[in-house]
């Protein structure tokens, strides 16, 4: 149970130095992205190795992005899509996870077998038929097209089932004795007692879908329903051209929201990804 003693700063120096050096190397894309977003274009084209701009051009670069790119519109789309996906994933997976963990019903083993089978299939596999169906139904370029394929997460069912199994049966029995129905038990007893699993999954899901490019690229054309990832892609290929300064400013703006969320809730993020990772 004893924790490793804190070494003296001097003894810790090699470790800190090594970590600092590797860390700095890993941060290079961020550092240069930020630096470039502050410089005027001619300074970039001189390829000087100085990180600090000779002339500050930040206002011009960033205002160019805000005037040419509907930044808040893209961010809003990202929020709508991630929230919509998470809402349906929880709506479907929490009751199913509870039933698989705590209830006896015919077909339960088959259902769990299907969950395990589903875990093996990457989301790229059903993409082609879903695209054809959505295009026939006229659903391309809608929020529905972005959200629907991910409403079912077998991973969430699996994760919740594992977590719910560890919850004491007494909790459920007591609720039943009080006359609370199964449906209410799921949302009023089980979910409030499972916040660690729920937040872990929520972080996993939002990170995955905020960053996803594959599916939005397939079903979305134009700005109306574009997600942040598509927004950067459009700006990169259409407006920015060779203007790396403005492109870097756009990259900074679009990366910032999720990174800020991460920095504020760092521990939860890391734990969330570790639990979901290890269980998946």
């Amino acid at each position: 149970m004893d924790k490793p003693r804190e070494r003296s700063f001097l003894a810790d120096t090699p470790r800190l130095l090594a970590l600092g050096l590797v860390g700095l190397l890993l941060l290079m894309p961020y550092i240069w992205m930020l630096s470039a977003s502050l410089k005027p274009l001619d300074e970039l084209f001189r390829a000087s190795l100085s990180l600090w701009p000779e002339r500050f051009h930040a206002v011009e670069n960033y205002s160019r992005v805000f005037s040419q790119v509907p930044v808040f519109h893209y961010l809003w789309n990202g929020i709508v899509v991630c929230a919509g996906i998470l809402f349906f994933q929880l709506l479907f997976a929490v009751p199913a996870g509870y039933a698989l963990a705590k209830l006896r019903f015919p077909g339960r083993d088959i259902a769990f077998g299907l969950v395990m089978l589903g875990l093996l299939v990457p989301p790229h596999v059903p993409a082609l038929p879903l695209y054809v169906t959505f295009s026939k139904l006229g659903l391309l370029n809608t929020y529905a097209a972005l959200i629907l394929p991910f409403t079912i997460s077998v991973f969430a069912i699996f994760l919740f089932r594992q977590f719910f199994r560890a919850l004491p049966d007494e909790l459920i029995h007591a609720a039943r004795l009080d006359g609370i129905g199964e449906f209410e038990i799921v949302w009023r007893i089980i979910l409030p007692n499972s916040w660690p699993a729920a937040t872990a999954f929520a972080i996993f899901s939002v990170v995955a879908h905020w960053n996803d490019l594959f599916w939005p690229l397939i079903v979305i054309e134009g700005q109306a329903r574009a997600t942040p990832a598509l927004g950067v892609l459009y700006f990169r290929s259409d407006e920015a051209g060779d203007d790396f300064a403005a492109l870097m400013a756009a990259a900074v703006i679009m990366t910032l929201p999720l990174v800020l969320a991460f920095l504020f809730a760092q521990r939860r993020f890391v734990e969330g990804i570790a639990t979901t990772g290890l269980k998946g």
Binding site: L19, L26, P95, A127, R176
Partner: protein, 307 residues
């Protein structure tokens, strides 16, 4: 627990098995329907599609048996994509695992700065991939990029063109892939490391292990076995899916030098609308992923005694 105490509560559920069965079915039906419509049916449709010449927009289609697969294996482009994907996985998997493990060990070996360094190395996992790809494009730019600026400054007269050179493009994409995966692997290794009981290190010390290397060899590495195996499989599955960086930065070029499996599937299916052929590529991709999972299960069967 089998004593009379608590039986009252159990009797309530035993007394209403039909109610419980009904509730179980009702609670799984929504998930079951979504599973059927969004996952099971489309996956089966992909499998069927792979044996047709279906093209979106053409009026009729035929069953062509293995036609798509014979075309695939005669197509030079597909061969290149398959080879590139395997090379990419071959670079990204070992290097991102070794670096992730090394960093996790360094962080875990002291207390100072743990949270800060963990956050720094984890940053790429939560950064918008497309935006960071743009940052890499600038960093690796042949003429105005800081990397080549540095190389020229230290005397390399004609540094590589990285993403626009067919010799270097796959290596450059692999470097970005490693950079993306380190933080993820580090977090998994950190979780594995904290699960190793401290007493084992004490026991090893009592048994006479003195150096850090001995402790690693005798305690850390064997006990990390299951974690390492898991990280290995998951990194391979993640990197075999490489798509974003290719789609954003190279579109498979120059001259197919960075063409990979999912990007070929995307182009055939969603640009040329040759859905049958694209489905066949998807199946090859699926079989590779299933093969990796199968290998993992095989390896796990052999080393369960760690549990």
């Amino acid at each position: 627990m089998s004593s009379a105490v608590g039986l009252g509560a159990i009797k309530v559920t035993r007394g209403a098995p039909i109610g419980e069965a009904l509730a179980g079915l009702m609670l799984t039906v929504p998930a079951g329907l979504a599973y059927l419509v969004m996952l099971l049916l489309p996956t089966m449709a992909t499998i069927l599609l792979a044996f047709t010449d279906y093209e979106l927009g053409l009026p009729d289609w035929n069953w062509i048996g293995l036609g798509n697969f014979t075309e695939m294996f005669e197509d030079r482009g597909f061969g290149v994509a398959l080879r590139n994907t395997i090379i990419y996985v071959g670079f990204v998997t070992p290097l991102s695992i070794l670096l992730g493990l090394g960093i996790a060990l360094l962080i875990e070996s002291g207390i100072r700065g743990r949270a800060t360094f963990r956050a720094i190395f984890f940053l790429p996992v939560v950064s918008l991939t497309v935006a960071m790809a743009a940052a890499w494009q600038y960093l690796l730019h042949p003429t105005i990029g800081p990397l080549n600026g540095l190389l020229r400054a230290i005397g390399v007269s004609s540094p590589p063109y990285w993403l626009s050179s067919s010799d270097w493009v796959l290596l450059s994409l692999s470097a970005i892939g490693i950079w993306e995966n380190i933080g993820y692997n580090m977090v998994l290794f950190l979780a594995g490391l904290t699960a190793i009981p401290r007493e084992l290190y004490h026991a090893a010390e009592v048994d006479g292990t003195k150096t850090w290397l001995d402790r690693f060899r005798l305690v850390t590495w064997p006990l990390l076995g299951p974690t390492t195996l898991f990280v290995l499989t998951i990194t391979m599955i993640r990197s075999i899916r490489v798509f974003d960086t290719v789609a954003v930065l190279t579109q498979g070029g120059p001259n197919k030098a960075s063409e990979v499996l999912l990007h070929t599937m995307y182009k055939e299916g969603f640009t040329f609308l040759r859905l049958g052929y694209s489905a066949a590529i998807t199946l090859v991709f699926l079989v590779m992923v299933l093969g990796l999972v199968w290998l993992q299960t095989k390896a796990l069967d052999k080393r369960v005694h760690y549990g």
